[in-house]
């Protein structure tokens, strides 16, 4: 009998194992669900790990208020289909209550403000573990992070002093106030995620596929025209066939020109790409050489 698993089956089994370990060892986990492709995969992994039971954790979205409306609609539909519970932590509310200060100017972004909202929500709900869909192939600081990423009672990551992580024997022991961020998809690549979405027939927001949109060009990226982004002098909008490789804030997430209108053409496009997804579409990583590490040290996803 054939006893070989495919590369995707091995990754899937590892992710299921990680989720069950967290459910068993921590008392109040939460799954961060943004509606993006990686968190769509996370939800499928959770179904595989816990059905026919209920998820032993709730879902949470840190909503910047500048998300793409179609992603928010997709998020709510998916949660309803699963019959699970969603908490929305709102950056707008953090601004309104004075917890954070809105950046100003045409390049303003709520990306950094999310960290405060996330940490406040973790504290308010008493979460001791948060699942994220981050992958090590995305970015050089993420490439260094453990699957169980320990956070101190300020939510901070200490990259120079991470816990050893041996085999698949995870140490989920923490003190009160501390937490772990858990990344079950650590070992997946962008291509793995798309191949899995295709194999499982998962629905993702339509903006991952090529569509016509009004965009403008800034710093070599194409941004959607929206009420959340001001045009700077000289920038003009035009209509183009684009798709998104990542889904974040409208203010820091760029689109790529593409004609890939279905899963097969997206998989083919990703397999042939010569640019990383975050390099091509995320302004938030370009702030400095260590932009992601610095945000993680402060408590970011």
């Amino acid at each position: 009998m054939n006893r070989r698993l495919t590369h995707l089956q091995v990754l899937e089994s590892e992710a299921i194992h990680v989720m069950r370990e967290v459910a068993a060892e921590l008392s109040r986990p939460v799954l961060l669900f943004s509606g993006g492709k990686d968190s769509v995969v996370l939800l499928r992994i959770a179904e595989k790990a816990f059905r026919p039971g209920r998820f032993p954790f709730g879902l949470m979205h840190v909503d910047t208020g500048h998300n793409f409306p179609e992603v928010i609609a997709f998020r709510d539909r998916r949660v309803a289909e699963l019959d699970e519970r969603l908490i929305v932590a709102s950056v707008q509310e953090s601004i309104d209550t004075g917890r954070v200060k809105e950046e100003s100017g045409p390049r303003a972004s709520r990306n950094r403000l999310q960290t405060r909202t996330l940490l406040d929500a973790i504290e308010r709900h008493g979460f001791d573990a948060a699942f994220g869909g981050a992958r090590r192939d995305e970015e050089r600081a993420r490439a260094k992070e453990r699957i169980f990423s320990f956070r101190d009672d300020f939510g901070g990551w200490d990259p120079k002093n991470q816990r050893p992580e041996l085999w698949n024997v995870y140490n989920g022991r923490i003190h009160r106030g501390e937490s772990v961020r858990v990344f079950p998809l650590s070992n997946w690549t962008e291509l793995d995620v798309w191949e899995y979405i295709a194999e499982e027939g998962l629905e993702v927001p339509a903006m991952y596929f090529a569509h016509e949109r009004d965009v403008f060009s800034r710093d070599g990226m194409l941004y959607a025209v929206s009420e959340h982004v001001e045009l700077i002098d000289g920038e003009t909008s035009f209509r183009a066939s684009v798709r998104y490789r990542t889904v974040g804030d409208m203010s820091c997430t760029g689109a790529v020109e593409s004609t890939a209108r279905d899963l097969a053409s997206v998989v083919a496009e990703i397999a042939a790409t010569r640019v990383t997804e975050r390099g091509e579409t995320r302004a938030d990583d370009r702030v400095s050489e260590a932009a992601m590490e610095d945000r993680k040290v402060a408590g970011y996803f």
Partner: protein, 405 residues
Amino acid sequence: MATAGSVDDGKSTLIGRLLLDSKAVLSDQLEHVEQASRRRGTGMVDLSLLVDGLRAEREQGITIDVAYRYFATSRRTFIIADTPGHVQYTRNMVTGASTADLAVILVDARKGVLEQSKRHAYIATLLGIPHLVLAVNKMDLVGFDEEVFDAIVCEFSDFARGLSVKDVAYVPVSAKHGDNVVARSESMPWYGGVALLEQLESVQVADDRNLSDARFPVQWVIRDHEGDYRGYAGQVASGVLRPGDEVLVLPSRALTRIDRIETFDGPVEQAFAPMSVTLVLAEDVDVSRGDIICHPDDAPELSREVEATVCWMTSEPLRAGGRYALKHATHAARAIVQEVVDRVDVHTLARDPHADELALNDIGRVRLRTSKPLAFDPYARNRATGAFILIDEASNDTVGAGMIL
């Protein structure tokens, strides 16, 4: 695969070269490394910046923690764990090596086999990595001299005789210039073997799995809304389980039968490592997280006394009388150190039977007594049921990696 070796042997550069020459570096990553190299005033593009992603690593030009990189050739998909060479970061090397099927040990051709290269080779084999590749790097700096390579091969194979490793290969390379990394080098016509990448692509790893001893550590009990469904979820650690199999639950020693094996995608006719599945048992026996399900005629040992080789990873030494939390597969217990049996001198592999403690980065044999019985196998036979970690109960840090003898 994991890289290993001493500081400045060029591990990160080798990985950078491997990724670059196999076209696994994307244009924005390369552009970033070129810019960063210029800022640092290095004349050539510094390929180690492809993996040394932390601010402190870039400042100091060293690797502090494991970086994981992913690449695929037409023949195989790779996960590379690039591990640090400094002795003080040995625990991070152990982290990277613990999940590897193959280790590439680097040696600087000018320096020969240093103590740290031996330590890493020893740790790699201790962790049960069955395949080693010794990459003799910086061959360009010794004039691509065959005699230098031969002398290092000779020295390392002498050392490797004392290790339990089934497969060692030797490749002379220059990571900086790319000789024998992805393509055969013209500078070393005397070398009759294959380039490093081809070596990595051709190693047989599928046969390393244990498919004979069925071991299923129970992770989680699944119940449905009504409460009339009960399934035991977990990842098969080794062996094969099938519906209808007689099974033994440890430590309770309850006997029952597998009624069916389920997944979200439907029932399966067999479950083998590393599948994550749910077992539904024929009878209502007491099973909980941490239990191990196996076949009655091939059970692991069940005992509160274990002897293990331990890699110690914290500055407070391990001594007799020390108490720790222990995690073995999915099972949590407490452990007390009965005795430090010996300590290994990683340079000579000699054992010091008079040692009474293991300090940071020491490796030695230890006898432990646990608060609850463990169902275990020798690590050499079964990585999943022979491994445990020790956790400091005050700080909650992982302080020891244990491999049961």
